[in-house]
Subunit: 193 residues, 2 copies
């Protein structure tokens, strides 16, 4: 159950056997069936979730009633509404399992206690946040400069696993495109090969 988590931590900071037991005592294992939610729009996001297995998305609904996918998270990734989690404000996002999932959950209290006990965990968290910030910056640049086709191709290159496992209309939503547009982009790409 903790393989992916320890792998992720070891990629960024040192991790010894004693630490592992501490980690095990702070995370809450949780299974989620496909279509079940970890967070509902309007609720406070009380968990920072690590994905051991499966895939989830976070999304919000705009005033016109359209859903917008904000993030996908597969094995080895974290997912939460950071704003709601940190400030205990009501979330505008829903986090939903797209497949059956195995998660490891961390409450704010557990997170802080863990940072106290294992300083390297604080560094790990900071590195994650830095990477997430840089990735978001790249995503903004992408939406501002690329055509529909470029966006789709780059996503496929960066995260082939996600494009294969997620319905196409959710990929479209993540890219800020309509399903019809993604369908046409794919057709276009295929006829060029």
């Amino acid at each position: 159950m903790f393989e992916q988590l320890f792998k992720s931590i070891q990629e960024k900071v040192t991790l010894n056997e004693d630490d592992k037991e501490v980690y095990k005592s702070f995370f809450i294992p949780k299974k989620l069936r496909k279509k079940q939610t970890l967070l509902q729009e309007g609720d406070v996001c009380i968990y920072n979730a690590f994905v051991e297995n499966g895939i989830l998305r976070s999304f919000f609904t705009d005033e016109k009633g359209n859903e917008h996918v904000v993030q996908f998270a597969i094995e080895g990734w974290w997912i939460t509404d950071l704003s709601s989690f940190l400030t205990k404000s009501n979330s505008i996002y829903t986090i939903e399992a797209l497949e059956d999932c195995e998660l490891l959950l961390l409450t704010m209290e557990a997170r802080e206690a863990l940072m106290d006990k294992i300083p390297m965990f604080e560094r790990y968290q900071r590195l994650l946040l830095q990477n997430a910030y840089i990735a978001n910056q790249a995503r903004i640049n992408s939406t501002l400069t690329e055509t529909a086709e470029e966006k789709y191709i780059k996503l496929g290159l960066a995260y082939p696993g996600i494009i294969k496992r997620v319905p196409q209309h959710m990929i479209a939503s993540y890219l800020g495109l309509k399903p019809e547009t993604v369908s046409r982009v794919r057709k276009q790409i295929n006829t060029r090969i």
Copy 2:
């Protein structure tokens, strides 16, 4: 010279008089004239800059030769290319003064030493990063859901100081719009009043 910095720190964490002297010894004061750059595309970004006075922008140039404004920074804000700064990679961004500026610069070594000496500075930095991450998330959502007019109006509401001090075509660039579009949006808004 340090008023804005101390004000910013005090808004987030505790700050005593001894700390102030430590801070003063680590930051490098730097004046920049309008149009001078703190970072040139292709160079490694070796400074994390705090703006005491003035206004700057960071931007990049895409393959088609179009400039895209990534960030503005006014008094009390930080600006850097975080990716280049952290990984010592060559930056794709240029950081340029839009007015004469007074900056306080922090090298990576000074930043780490400061975090060592003043643990509260690490917390302050983490809080800044969290806020920046949340703001970027909101910006992504905005570009995916809002019309040109909504983007312009919201920017004006959120940062009236920036819209007043920066040429309109840079506002357009920041919003992912063309100058002509912003001009038309403004006309539209005015005729409705």
